[in-house]
């Protein structure tokens, strides 16, 4: 089988932006999309004419069910003034955005286009929580996973119990991921939660005090997270603060052929590795403690980029649930299988650690508008590698290599990109 594992030509990332993430009653997908497009446009150092965009990829999981709006790609393309350019919706569950990004990379690498807009959008908060749960469950194997009563938190919770049984992982490790990502997200003005878990804990105590109720005696964030009233179980061992929220949001990134990158900015990033793989439903996998599609996709991306996991200086990984971040850091080869929990406990993955993970706050704190998340991860790497992440900028002054890891469902899809600043 012919397989070169190389891009046909170089691809540069020259602009990236997001809408504010959160819950916006009066905004629809197209409003969020316009906001992300304008943020992206403002990030292109030398400016550009939007009419130079030749093709548009839009990651969107389920406008159909969330907003009763299918066929969203030409609509958002119209709303940003790009009709009649080809507009393609990409759906791979929560990996829709990452796969849209990859389609843009492939389109430019093929030589067909020089300028591609890659993007994602999801408007999730119109529906009540139960219906959102139902809609997300549609990304699982409806016949053979959801039929057993599994929800999305439930499927990741099953991965968690398998990981606990095999490696001795504790619920405290999951909580440490949440604390870390909220600490990062507190510094991200575009994120859904701009508060650390400590701040949320203090606010709860104050509320009790103000209302003349008994004030819970929390000695630390961990006490707060173990309080079932403050942090109820969703699907044991995943509690509320182990789960990414329901979010409205959009993200846009501008990809161009390497040879024209300097006409957009003197500080382009280059996408030097791209990998994608699929996997079976949960019960079809030999090992439930890892996501093999991520292992395969990352190997492909590392090989294309000519780098190793050690070389990656920071990563945005798919922490739809706290267990998912732990598993991701193992699948990506940052830590050996079973060592992910120790890494988070020792602060290795903290913003000032040796391997900062989810400096944006991750899906957990920044929010998870499913179709947009994969592109929003690229936005954070764009900002960090260019030194533009403000108060959450990692201390390492010599950042050169970043990675994004975006997973659909429980790993039925995994898509990985490696970014370089030269």
């Amino acid at each position: 089988m012919a397989k070169t594992g190389k891009l046909g030509r170089g691809v540069a990332l020259v602009g990236a932006g997001v809408s504010k993430f959160g819950s916006f009653k009066d905004k629809t997908s197209r409003d969020l999309y316009v906001e992300a497009f304008l943020d992206m446009k403002a990030s292109v150092d030398k400016g550009f004419d939007p009419r130079d965009i030749q093709t548009i990829y839009v990651g969107c999981f389920s406008g159909d069910l969330f907003e009763s709006q299918g066929h969203l790609a030409p609509i958002v393309t119209d709303w940003v003034g790009l009709v009649p350019r080809p507009a393609t919706r990409v759906e791979d569950a929560c990996a829709s955005g990452g796969v849209a990004l990859r389609q843009g990379v492939l389109a430019i690498a093929s030589g067909l286009y020089d300028v591609a807009l890659v993007s994602g959008v999801e408007k999730m908060t119109n529906l009540p929580t139960e219906r959102v749960t139902d809609t997300l469950a549609a990304a699982s194997d409806v016949l053979y996973e959801a039929s057993a009563g599994f929800t999305f938190p439930g499927l990741y919770a099953a991965i968690a119990t398998a990981h606990m049984a095999k490696y001795g992982t504790k619920v405290e490790h999951f909580m440490q991921v949440g604390i870390k990502n909220h600490n990062n997200g507190a510094l991200n003005p575009k994120g859904q939660f701009n508060r650390s878990i400590k701040d949320i804990m203090l606010a709860r105590q104050k509320k009790c005090q103000d209302q003349g109720q008994p004030v819970p005696d929390y000695k630390s964030e961990m006490d707060f997270l173990k309080d079932a009233a403050a942090n109820p179980v969703v699907a044991w061992p995943m509690r509320l603060f182990d789960c990414s929220p329901i979010t409205d949001g959009a993200a846009c990134a501008l990809l161009v052929a390497e040879d024209i990158a300097r006409s957009f900015t003197d500080r382009p990033l280059y996408i030097i590795g791209s990998g994608q793989a699929s996997d079976y439903a949960l019960h079809g996998r030999p090992d439930i403690t890892c996501i093999k599609a991520s292992q395969i996709a990352s190997k492909e991306a590392y090989q294309m980029a000519g780098v190793t996991p050690k070389d990656i200086q920071l990563a945005e990984v798919h922490d739809c649930f706290t267990i998912a971040e732990i598993v991701a850091t193992e699948d990506l080869g940052f830590f050996a299988p079973g060592v992910g929990p120790k890494a988070v406990a020792e602060g290795v993955t903290a913003r000032d650690g040796a391997k900062p993970i989810n400096t944006s706050g991750g899906l957990k704190s920044k929010g998870h508008p499913v179709g947009a998340s994969g592109v929003a991860q690229a936005v954070e790497i764009f900002k960090q590698l260019r030194g533009e992440a403000g108060p959450r900028q990692v201390p390492n002054k010599n950042l050169r290599l970043g990675l994004t890891h975006n997973v659909g469902a429980t790993g039925g899809t995994s898509v990985i990109h490696v970014y370089e600043r030269r």
Binding site: G149, T161, A165, W236
Partner: protein, 137 residues
């Protein structure tokens, strides 16, 4: 054996007869649960039905409190968590199923590795009987 297509409809019909049925490739001998028409190993479509013992062990599980509508309608969820899990059958294949006979209010006491055996759940949905794959600890 009666010829039935290798579909979820047939799988559920067998469940209604309290039988856990998979498909076995007549060419390479591989066993598939849930059943499927095309063998992913040899890419041939020459399957035959085979019955599994229904004995296995729990390899992953969760106790769910925030439930989808279909479970909420059965009185399960918030104040009455239920267990879903992945069961590895004695014959090798794994499958997702409801898990019964475990303490869902103290889920930390449920153990991976717990032996389980087939127990099909039955409920009425309008005029229809619906069968759900379950295992009992």
């Amino acid at each position: 054996m009666e010829q039935r297509d290798f579909t979820v409809a047939s799988f559920n019909k067998f469940l209604g007869e309290k039988r856990l049925m998979g498909s076995k490739c007549k060419k390479c001998g591989s066993l598939h649960l849930p059943p499927r028409p095309l063998c992913p190993h040899c890419h041939e479509a020459v399957m035959e039905w085979t019955e599994l013992s229904g004995k296995g062990k729990l390899v992953a599980y969760t106790a769910i409190s925030v439930a989808p509508t279909v479970m909420v309608n059965q009185g399960l969820g918030k104040n009455n968590p239920y267990c879903s899990g992945v069961v590895e059958l004695a014959e090798g294949p794994k499958i997702c199923a409801r898990v019964l006979g475990v303490d869902t209010r103290n889920p930390e006491r449920i153990e991976v590795g717990t032996p389980v055996k087939l127990e099909v759940l039955e409920r009425a949905e309008g005029q229809e009987k619906v069968f759900t794959l379950a295992f009992k600890a």
